[in-house]
Symmetry: D2
Subunit: 221 residues, 4 copies
């Protein structure tokens, strides 16, 4: 992917879920909507927090925009930092119902498709650049099994097709906002301004770094 | 304590420790220095992170300023929220050496003095007001056994004397700054601006609330 | 305290609470009842998990037994190791109702009494001996503000009176049992046999070590 | 897979690593070696904690034994329960060097192979049965990126070949032993006896349950 004047960047965020009235993933996407970053224009799209429907809205946006880069955002309540996800797995296993009341157990996101896809974003360069900018970040090796992973998997499956050759994409989890954390004592949080700066920097990194860093970011288990 | 035009508020913070180059407790105190809050003027004083010396600098400030309110701040690396401390214990037990290389084990902060003092700040009203302002906060039931607790105990011991009748005081721990957390993956943090707002609000609460709220904020263990 | 043939050791445990059907603190006490450890005979007494009543049952046992050593046990659900408590504070602040539905907020355990008492058990020697025996243990600097701390404070207050000269006492928290942890995924636990061995070793240490170790076991916060 | 008189069960454990002198995964495997469970005989094999070599020793054991069931065990220091792993990913990313000093970063376990494989063990039935037996357990959605995941992936890749039709396999992480946890205050642990019972029960479940339970065991992130 080369950044040209006509590049479009699809940035998705989710509607609120689990009784919350706000979702930072959408607040961040909305704040960056229309911004031009290294020659690419951000197009923010909100996804429903519903299995299936989320994938459908994503598909329509992909078809309509033909973006050169796609980053999907989701809330990871309890995490303290920005976490680019490494791998999407072909599995829905919902601990709580989604916004439409669906609660799939051990179903494939896409039938007869690979077990997993790796992010094609430069996740390690993103983490390094975020830290250098003073924003806590780390690579995550699991995006869970709820609607976030569902969308991440669906995205990578679409991008793996020939027609999407060269289009990079992936998923980044963001922490709760302080106004959410006040309701759950001890929950870590990050202010919206820092989250917006973080995703702007992550996009900038994705638009400029072709070959990811070879730095270890693994977990023993 | 009644807030009058001549009220002085002593706000202490610590110098950096444990190889760090910055300490948010001092950055917050410094930022509020000179500010007038509900008729009281903030006087920021930096304390050395050294057993004994910290207490001495605190004593000098108390003598010199004759403040109507005293709040000491310290860093609690790893905590995610603002934590007004409930109780100071008469014990130094250092897990690491202080900035002068001292590492007392099971020594009294003040010989022949009570085992503990409770904070005389309205800690529950502070927590409620902070949460209402969108800043994560909770009551802490242990200030540890390092220099923070040492200063907290020394402060409360001084304020317990007749001469300090009516002067309220206590200790508040603040989280790490994002720039500190980037060095320790997974560590929670809070931006300086939020920390400053939080302590301003805590001071405002202390200047206006005489009788603390009766809301449970306990721990099972 | 010297261990003689007539030494009596009072070991208390709690009845189940918070919807649980078992409380390891009582299972451990019951298992050691009647056992002779370094010349002392263990007398197990069950305390109700009720503010006030627990203190009363403890008082009766103290009066009746005139023990040479008193150790109260309580459950700390979520902790992974055996934790001798360092300090009892004069404060009840209940996050949940006790077994009688009482939920005191910011009340003194004993009116017009000191803010806190330190354990007079050799808590650091206990921790070292337990670790050497292969049982995870660490010093805790807060026993919370629920019935455990309530009993711990009441005990130390009684032992501080002249009549109890030389009688040592304190509180030890124990982890959940595996059968409790299966209901809360991720909760640490310790099998009953290990908990019994641990408390036997703790009693042995208390009966033989007069002067506690001077090893640091502090917390920064 | 039907359990017959001639069924062989391959159970692997790892040699100690990261300066430890013992590895519970091997202690468990060794303890069950030769045991007959639901008509299958356990064959314990120790794997080196070395990228590549571990896979090679596993391959030899698979060729030699032609087992009907394969379970690989590994230590997850810090986890409190038995965790059957759900998915193996085709990635080595070592946070620390292995026992031979190798520290691969972002390398494939097997080149030109799928991104991931799902365990073919009845992991949810295992978790339910373990909990009913009073042993804490939960499904894990990430086996990390170190030698454990390496072996898990290699195993599933081998079993995916036609020649291994019907042979089920997977990976289970076990907690640290108490004797390991005493060195790291706060680390959860499980006694060896419980770990052995757990893996015996897990094998029994794998030998008898053909269709896994449909119970949610997912994570939001």
């Amino acid at each position: 992917m080369t950044a040209s004047a006509v590049s479009r960047i699809l940035l998705t965020g989710f509607e609120p879920f689990d009784k919350d009235s706000i979702n930072p993933s959408w607040e961040v996407a909305r704040a960056l909507d229309g911004e031009v970053i290294v020659g690419g224009t951000v197009h923010a799209v909100q996804l429903p927090c519903v299995f299936g429907n989320a994938m459908q809205v994503l598909d329509e946006a992909l078809t309509q925009l033909q973006p050169a880069l796609v980053i999907s955002l989701g809330l990871a309540g309890g995490r303290s930092d920005i976490t680019p996800e490494r791998v999407a797995i072909n599995l829905d296993d919902a601990r709580i119902p989604d916004n439409a009341g669906k609660q799939p157990v051990d179903e494939a996101v896409v039938s007869n498709a690979p077990a997993a896809y790796f992010s094609t974003l430069p996740i390690k360069a993103m983490v390094r650049n975020l830290r250098e900018a003073g924003i806590p970040a780390s690579v995550s090796n699991t995006a869970g099994t709820f609607v976030c992973n569902h969308v991440f998997y669906a995205l990578m499956h679409r991008l793996s097709r020939r027609a999407a050759a060269g289009v990079r994409g992936g998923f980044i989890h963001v922490p709760a906002l302080p106004q959410q954390a006040v309701k759950q004592p001890g929950m870590a949080s990050m202010v919206l301004e820092a989250q917006i700066s973080a995703i702007r920097e992550a996009i900038r990194t994705a638009m400029t770094v072709q070959q990811d860093l070879r730095e270890n970011a693994g977990q023993l288990h």
